[in-house]
Every structure is written in structure tokens, then in C-alpha cells.
Assembly symmetry: C2
Homo-oligomer: 134 residues x 2
DNA sequence: CAGAATCCCATTCGATACTG
DNA sequence: CAGTATCGAATGGGATTCTG
């Protein structure tokens, strides 16, 4: 995911796993984009077709839905089944690993809900004070 | 995504919270960037000064460290304490809410570690097959 | 030491149009 | 319906330089 512009080799964080960051960046590089988690969560509700996903996720473009589902497929989170009918019919469903990830994501979502107000307050306070900490 | 330093509200996608995605995007909009989680995790180990963070997080630039710590402060995850000495000395530490978030993040990191190999296999298979699902 | 300020490229993503 | 292809704008963030 995006590292260096120049030819300089990336190697963003030190060694393979120098500290104990290990894993955090990896998962965020996969679902840290704008749409992956939304697709994940929608598919956690059940099997969906392309159009169904598109309608269920307001604001997503066809392109991004295609790109996102394909990435999730590549990573083994989603399984794609195309029925050779006409018009075409394609179903997406979570793999067991995908469901597992969706569960972990849900935990983060719960955290977010629980602390939404507190974050809002913190921001309001910060912005009111102009970014200082007096 | 991080809108701006000013108090401009995000509101990226459609409605306020149509389905039950609620919360997922919000937290990822905060820590989904390249550096936030790394700072979070490093601070979870204890109080750190600016330079200490910089050295502990290979590849981060001064600018991004400044930007990232400030955002975390604004959101109430990190507390900044500047001692008026010379040379200046600034300490960063997690707030209780920041520690709570770090805990949730750690769960995701654990998931990632547990499934790293499986994801690698899935990718290898996908790439070998040229992106099809035969 | 701990930033602030510029510059500027690269990747991401949205909009649009076309296809099997 | 389920994509693919192309283009352009916005954003993220690295390198560098300057300051209190």
C-alpha cells in the first residue's frame, strides 16, 4: 500500500516484526480503506448479490464495490459464486475466515459506539480551546 | 480520512447511520491511517517523549508524528504535557479512553496474527490462478 | 528537543461511459 | 445484472527547511 515515490525501497516499519506492532498494520492495510468493512458487515448479514450490496451501502460506486469485493476475495474473506444465467447472477458470501474477521471488526464497532459521545466532547473541548492544552 | 484541523464535520457517506454499520467507519476514520495505531500501541507501553516515539516507530516522519499525536489528542485518546524547560520536554501518554481503544485494537492485531498464514495462502492461490474462481 | 511551514508526488477514489 | 475502462480531483504523506 503506497510507500515510496522514489525508487527507494519501502520497508516502512523496521524488520519483519521488530516490536509487537505485528499484525495491526497488516489488518488495517486490508480493511482500513473506506469500503471494506462496510462490505464485510453487510455480508455478515447473509449472502448478497452485487446490486444488493451496492444498494445496501450508500455512496459506494460500482467501481469501488468491484475493487473491494475482489480484494476481499483475494484475501480469502469472501467467496464469489457466479451462476451462468442470463442476466448474470453473482453471489457473495463470507468465508469462515471472513466471518471471523467480521466478528473482530464488530468489537471495534462496539467500542466506537460506546465512546462516541466522549470523543465528541473531547473534540468540542479541543476545538473550543483552539488546540491548546492549558 | 481526517477532514481538517478545523472543526469541519466529516459526513462522508450518505445518511447519518442508515443501517447498523454505525461506529465502524467512525473508528476507522480515526485510526485507519498509516500511523495512528502504531503511536497508540507504543504509548500503550508507557509515557513517551516526542523523540522517543519517533525512534520507536521506524519510518515515521516528524511531520506525521506531529499530525498524528495532535489528532489523537484532539480525540481525547492522548494527553500531552509540555514542561517549560529548555530544551523543551513534552510527554505523551494515553488517556483512559486511549487505553481502552488500544485494547480493542490489540484484539484486531491478535486476529491478524492468527490468520496471517491463511491470508497468505489465499492470496498465493488467487494470484496463481490469475484471479479466477474455477 | 519539539515542532511549524512548504513543496510536491502518488495513491485513492468518484464520476462517467461502455460491454457481455 | 455485473462488471470493465478511462479520466480527473482530492487527499495523504514524505523530504526538506526553518524556529523558539
Amino acid at each position: 500500500m503506497s510507500v515510496a515515490h522514489t525508487g527507494v525501497t519501502p520497508q516502512v516499519h523496521g524488520g519483519p516484526c521488530g516490536d509487537d506492532d505485528c499484525g495491526i498494520r497488516e489488518v488495517l492495510d486490508r480493511i482500513g480503506d473506506r469500503w471494506s468493512v462496510l462490505v464485510l458487515v453487510e455480508l455478515a448479514k447473509g449472502v448478497r448479490r452485487f446490486r444488493e450490496l451496492e444498494r445496501a451501502i450508500p455512496g459506494i460506486s460500482q467501481r469501488m464495490l468491484t475493487v473491494t469485493t475482489r480484494r476481499l476475495c483475494r484475501d480469502g474473506m469472501v467467496e464469489r459464486t457466479a451462476h451462468p444465467t442470463v442476466p448474470p447472477q453473482v453471489e457473495y458470501r463470507l468465508t469462515p475466515m471472513g466471518e471471523s474477521l467480521a466478528g473482530a471488526v464488530r468489537a471495534l464497532a462496539d467500542w466506537s459506539r460506546d465512546h462516541r459521545d466522549a470523543v465528541g466532547e473531547a473534540r468540542a473541548k479541543w476545538d473550543a480551546e483552539g488546540g491548546a492544552t492549558p
